[in-house]
C-alpha cells in the first residue's frame, strides 16, 4: 500500500495568538512525525458475487468478522417499516439445524456473539471472537445468514419487543426530532420512514419477513470483512467452504431520493420540557462529489469538533447546551447536513440566533489559514484513529464500498484534506448552508418557545 504522509504538516503548526502576546510558555511542538501506512488489505470475489476483504491488524489474539449486507430499510415496501430490522433480528433466532440457544452458546464458546445491526442502506451480521475460533465462527455466521428458520414463536416475541422499543423511542425528544426532520426531507421515500406505527407492527406476518429475506439477501449483496490477527489461509478457506454455494440473489437496489427542504420551523410539543431539542439542516452533496471533502472540513470547523465555532459559542461562551454537534449523514448518492443541540427552553430562540450567526459568519468571511489548518490537522489525526481499530477499518472500507468510491479515496484522503483552502470553506458555506432551505425541527414546550422561534421561519405545528 501507498504510504500516506499524514503528519508532515504538523511540523509547521502555529499556535494561538493569545500565547504569543502574553509572557506565557509555548507548548513544545513534539518530534518528527512518522509516516502513516494504511493497513494492507486483500480482496477477492466468490463466483456467486460475494466479496471478501481481509485486513491483518494488531497484536490482540482476536478477529472481527462482519458480513455487510447491501440491504436495509431502503428495501422495505412503504407500509412495512422495520421489516428489515425484524428480518435481521430473526436471523439470530434459529437456523434449519440450530436453535437460538445453540447459536448464542456456540458463539459464546468462541468468546463472542452473533450481533446484527440494521441500517438504511447497509446492515451487518457479525462479531469478534478469539482468533483460534475464526474459521468456526465463519461457519456459524454462514448458517445464520443462509439458513434461517424464521420460527413463528420468535417472530411474535420480537413483535412485542419492537412495539415496546417503538413506544419508548417515541418518548425521547431526540428520536422525535430526528424522525420529523427525515419526514420533511424525504417524504414518502423509505428514508422518510424512521418509525412504523404500532398498527403497522401489529399487522406484520412472518410471511412478510420471509419475503423480505428472499427478495433482498444474497451473495451479490454481501461483503465479508475480516480484520484482526488471524490465519489468512484458514479464514479464506472457511469463507469458500461456507459461502461458495450460496445463492447469488439480487443486485443492489438503487433508489435515490430527491430531498425537499424549505425554510420553516416545525414544533413538536413537549409540555414542560426543560430543554428544546433542535435538529436543523439542509440536503448537501454526497461522498461521490468533489465538494464532499471540502464540505467535511467546513462541517468540522463550523460545528463538528469541540473546538468548532458553534460549540465554542453556544456551549463554551453561552452555556446554552451540553452536547451540540453538527454532522453529515450519508446515503447512497444522497446526504444531509444537520446541527443538533439540546438547549435550555428559555434560550431556544437565542440558540438559533447564534447558530445562524456562525453560519453567516463563515459565508461572509473565509476562515483564517491558522484556524483551517488546526481543523485539517484534527481531521488527519482522527482519520488515522479511524484506521487504527478493527471496527473503524471496516467502517472506512464499507463506506467507500457503499458509495462506489475509488480505493484511492482513502490513500488520497489526507492530501485532499489539506488541499482545501479558506476560500473553499466560504464557498461551501455559501453554496450548501442556504438560509431559505434550512429545515428547523424543535421538540420542546410549545407555550414557551413559539414566540422565541417566530423570527426564524414559518411555524408549522
Amino acid at each position: 500500500m501507498k504510504n500516506v504522509k499524514v503528519f508532515h504538516i504538523f511540523l509547521s503548526l502555529i499556535f494561538f495568538s493569545s500565547l504569543l502576546f502574553s509572557q506565557k510558555e509555548t507548548p513544545p511542538e513534539g518530534s518528527q512525525p512518522k509516516n502513516f501506512v494504511l493497513p494492507a488489505q486483500k480482496t477477492f470475489t466468490l463466483n456467486n458475487g460475494l466479496q471478501v476483504t481481509m485486513v491483518p491488524y494488531g497484536t490482540l489474539p482476536m478477529v472481527t468478522v462482519r458480513c455487510i449486507l447491501r440491504a436495509g430499510n431502503l428495501n422495505e415496501p412503504a407500509d412495512e417499516v422495520w421489516v428489515a430490522d425484524l428480518t435481521d433480528d430473526l436471523l439470530k433466532e434459529g437456523t434449519t439445524s440450530r436453535s437460538a440457544e445453540d447459536i448464542a452458546r456456540e458463539a459464546a464458546n468462541m468468546g463472542g456473539a452473533v450481533d446484527v445491526s440494521t441500517g438504511s442502506d447497509q446492515s451487518w451480521v457479525g462479531g469478534e471472537v478469539l482468533n483460534e475460533f475464526g474459521p468456526k465462527y465463519i461457519a456459524l455466521l454462514a448458517d445464520v445468514i443462509q439458513n434461517p428458520s424464521f420460527p413463528e414463536t420468535a417472530f411474535e416475541r420480537l413483535r412485542k419487543d419492537f412495539l415496546r422499543n417503538l413506544s419508548i423511542a417515541k418518548t425521547r425528544p431526540q428520536s422525535l426530532a430526528m424522525e420529523k426532520f427525515n419526514q420533511v426531507l424525504y417524504g414518502n421515500h423509505p428514508y422518510g420512514h424512521v418509525f412504523p406505527t404500532a398498527e403497522m407492527l401489529q399487522g406484520y406476518t412472518i410471511e412478510q419477513v420471509k419475503s423480505f429475506y428472499d427478495q433482498n439477501i444474497g451473495a451479490q449483496r454481501t461483503h465479508i470483512y475480516v480484520v484482526g490477527k488471524f490465519d489468512e489461509e484458514a479464514m479464506g478457506n472457511a469463507i469458500h467452504d461456507n459461502f461458495d454455494n450460496w445463492k447469488k440473489g439480487p443486485e443492489p437496489l438503487i433508489d435515490i431520493p430527491k430531498p425537499q427542504s424549505k425554510r420553516a420551523v416545525y414544533i413538536i410539543d413537549r409540555p414542560d420540557a426543560p430543554q428544546s431539542t433542535i435538529y436543523m439542516g439542509v440536503p448537501v452533496v454526497d461522498p461521490s462529489s468533489p465538494d464532499y471533502i471540502p464540505l467535511q472540513v467546513t462541517n468540522t470547523l463550523l460545528g463538528g469538533a469541540f473546538s468548532s465555532r458553534i460549540t465554542a459559542n453556544i456551549r463554551e461562551e453561552k452555556g446554552y447546551t451540553y452536547s451540540p454537534r453538527s454532522s453529515i449523514s450519508t446515503h447512497y448518492r444522497n446526504a444531509y447536513w444537520a446541527e443538533v443541540a439540546d438547549v435550555g427552553t428559555d434560550v431556544t430562540g437565542a440558540s438559533l440566533k447564534e447558530i445562524f450567526k456562525e453560519i453567516h459568519g463563515l459565508q461572509n468571511e473565509a476562515p483564517s489559514q491558522k484556524e483551517l489548518t488546526g481543523i485539517q490537522n484534527y481531521m488527519a489525526g482522527t482519520f488515522v484513529l479511524r484506521n487504527s481499530a478493527p471496527t473503524g477499518i471496516i467502517g472506512q472500507l464499507s463506506f467507500i464500498d457503499l458509495h462506489g468510491l475509488d480505493t484511492n479515496y482513502l490513500n488520497d484522503y489526507v492530501n485532499n484534506l489539506y488541499q482545501v483552502k479558506p476560500e473553499d470553506v466560504q464557498r461551501i458555506a455559501q453554496t450548501y448552508f442556504v438560509d431559505n432551505e434550512m429545515t428547523i425541527v424543535i421538540v420542546g414546550d410549545r407555550k414557551k418557545i413559539t414566540k422565541q422561534v417566530k423570527p426564524f421561519g414559518k411555524i408549522i405545528m
Binding site: F10, E25, G58, N109, N165, R270, Q275, F306, G319, L385
Partner: protein, 457 residues
C-alpha cells in the same frame, strides 16, 4: 470522541475481562508494563504498543464523586469541567484547541473513585500533551465567568441526560442511592441543581489544592513510545510540581445488607415500566470478587446467559437484560463498595413480581447447585475475550484505564497481567460459596420505574 463529552455522559460500558479455559495450552496475552514513581510522588505507567503511530496520555487523579464535599453534590464532576477552563499557560478553549489542532482527541470523566483526563494523539505529539497536562496540574486560572459558564453547561448536561429523558438516570444514577446506606455511596453524584448553582470560585480553588497533587495522581502512557524517552519527558514537565499532604480518606464502607429492599419511582416521561435489581459485590481482589466476575458472565453477559435465556428467550418478558458490576465503568476501575446490577424494560400488562420471581429462581439455582463444568468454562472464555476487547478499546485507552486504576488503588499496574490467573483459579465450589453470600435475597435491592404520564395540556 469528537468533542469533550464530559463526566457521566461517558458511560463507557467496558465489559470485563478474562481468562482462559482451565487446562488450556494458551498462555495469557501479556502486555509490557513499566512502573516508576517520581520524587514528588507522581506515579508513572508506561506501556509501549507499536501497532499504530499513536499515543494515549491518561492522567488519573485519586478523587471521585464518592468523597466530594457533603454540601456540594455533583462538585467533583463540575470541577472536572473546570480543568478545561484555563491553566497557567493555557487560556479557555486553548487546551482543547491545542490537542485537536495537533491531530488528537480528548476527554475527561468523573467516576466513583477517580477523575480522569486523556488525549489520544499522533505519537510525535507526546511531549505536547505532557506539557499541557503538567500545566494544568501545576495550577488553574479560572474566572468567575468561566465557572458560571460551566455551571450552565453542567446543568444542561443533567437536563439532557436525566431530566428531559424517560428513565433518566435509571439505573446508573438511581440505584446507588437506593441500595447504599453510607452517604458517600448513596448521594446524587450528578448533583442537585441547587448545589451545582451554589458552587463558588473558592470551592474550585480548595478542591484543586487539596486533591490535584502529583502524589495523588498517575500518568499513564500507552502506544508507540520509547519508555526511556517518555519517562524523561514526564520527569521534565511534572517532576518539580510540589506534592501536597493528602487528607485522611473518610470511611466509605457499607454495612452488610440484611434485608431485601424494594423501591418504586414514578416517571412522568416514560410509558413502559422498567426494573433493576442490585446486589452488593465482594470486596475487590478477594477470591470471591473474581468469582463474582464470572457469575456476572454466567447470569447477565451475552445471549447465552441464564437471565437472557429465561426472561427473553423462554418467557418473552423483555427484549434484553443488561447490566454488570459498576455501571460507570467496569469491575476493575473503582475502589470501594460496589453493586452488581441487572436491568430491563417490560410491558404495562406484566407485573414486576412476575419478572422478579423468574430472576430470583434463576439466581437461587446458583445458590443451591454447583455450577456445571461447561457453563463455568464458557464464562471463563467470555471473560478472556472480554478482557482482550477492553485492552483494544479506544486505541489503547482501555488498557491505560486498567493500569491507571491498578497503580492508583493497588500501587501495582502489573496486576493487568495477573487477572487471567485470578479468574482461572475460580472453582465451582467458590462460585457456590460466593453466590450463597452475595446473591442472598437479603442482599438484594429492586427498583421499579412506573410510568406516570403527566396530563397533557
Amino acid at each position: 470522541m469528537r468533542r469533550l463529552v464530559s463526566g457521566l455522559f461517558l458511560l463507557m460500558v467496558f465489559a470485563v475481562l478474562w481468562l482462559s479455559c482451565g487446562k488450556q495450552k494458551t498462555s495469557a496475552f501479556q502486555i509490557p508494563v513499566e512502573y516508576h514513581t517520581l520524587n514528588n510522588g507522581l506515579k508513572v505507567v508506561l506501556s509501549p504498543d507499536h501497532t499504530a503511530p499513536i499515543v494515549t496520555v491518561a492522567v488519573y487523579y485519586n478523587i471521585g464523586f464518592r468523597i466530594e464535599p457533603k454540601d456540594r453534590t455533583g462538585f467533583a464532576h463540575l470541577f472536572e469541567h473546570m480543568m478545561f477552563q484555563g491553566s497557567t499557560n493555557l487560556g479557555k478553549m486553548e487546551f482543547i484547541r491545542l490537542v485537536q489542532s495537533n491531530g488528537g482527541v480528548l476527554n475527561g470523566s468523573t467516576r466513583f473513585d477517580f477523575t480522569n483526563y486523556f488525549e489520544i494523539l499522533p505519537e510525535n505529539k507526546l511531549e505536547t500533551a505532557l506539557w499541557a497536562e503538567a500545566d494544568r496540574m501545576r495550577g488553574l486560572n479560572i474566572t468567575e465567568e468561566n465557572l458560571k459558564n460551566q455551571q450552565g453547561v453542567v446543568i444542561n448536561e443533567v437536563k439532557v441526560n436525566v431530566l428531559n429523558q424517560p428513565y433518566g438516570g435509571f439505573p446508573w444514577l438511581d440505584m446507588p442511592q437506593y441500595a447504599n446506606q453510607n452517604w458517600y455511596n448513596s448521594h446524587n453524584f450528578y448533583g442537585d441543581l441547587k448545589d451545582i448553582e451554589a458552587a463558588t470560585l473558592q470551592d474550585v480553588k480548595d478542591f484543586f489544592h487539596t486533591y490535584y497533587a502529583p502524589n495523588n495522581a498517575v500518568v499513564t502512557i500507552v502506544g508507540d513510545i520509547e519508555p526511556e524517552t517518555a519517562l524523561q519527558m514526564v520527569t521534565k514537565y511534572f517532576g518539580d510540581i510540589p506534592s501536597v499532604p493528602q487528607p485522611q480518606k473518610p470511611d466509605i464502607s457499607e454495612p452488610r445488607q440484611e434485608e431485601a429492599k424494594r423501591f418504586t419511582k414514578d416517571d412522568p416521561l416514560a410509558n413502559r415500566p422498567a426494573l433493576a435489581f442490585s446486589y452488593h459485590v465482594p470486596p475487590k481482589n478477594t477470591p470471591e470478587y473474581y468469582a463474582m466476575g464470572l457469575l456476572d458472565q454466567i447470569l447477565l453477559q451475552g445471549n447465552d446467559s441464564r437471565l437472557y435465556q429465561e426472561l427473553v428467550q423462554n418467557k418473552g418478558l423483555t427484549g434484553s437484560v443488561n447490566g454488570g458490576i459498576n455501571m460507570l465503568g467496569n469491575m476493575f476501575d473503582y475502589n470501594g463498595p460496589m453493586l452488581w446490577t441487572g436491568y430491563l424494560f417490560f410491558d404495562n400488562n406484566v407485573s414486576p413480581d412476575t419478572i422478579m420471581h423468574d430472576v430470583d429462581q434463576v439466581i437461587e439455582q446458583l445458590r443451591t447447585q454447583k455450577i456445571d463444568k461447561a457453563t463455568l468454562e464458557r464464562a471463563k472464555v467470555k471473560m478472556r475475550a472480554s478482557l482482550y476487547q477492553t485492552l483494544g478499546e479506544l486505541y489503547g485507552f482501555g488498557r491505560a484505564d486498567l493500569m491507571a486504576c491498578f497503580a492508583l488503588f493497588d500501587n501495582n499496574p502489573g496486576e493487568i497481567n495477573n487477572l487471567e490467573k485470578q479468574f482461572r483459579a475460580v472453582t465451582p465450589e467458590l462460585i457456590l460459596k460466593t453466590a450463597r453470600e452475595y446473591l442472598r435475597s437479603t442482599n438484594q435491592t429492586v427498583l421499579v420505574i412506573e410510568p406516570k404520564p403527566a396530563s397533557q395540556s
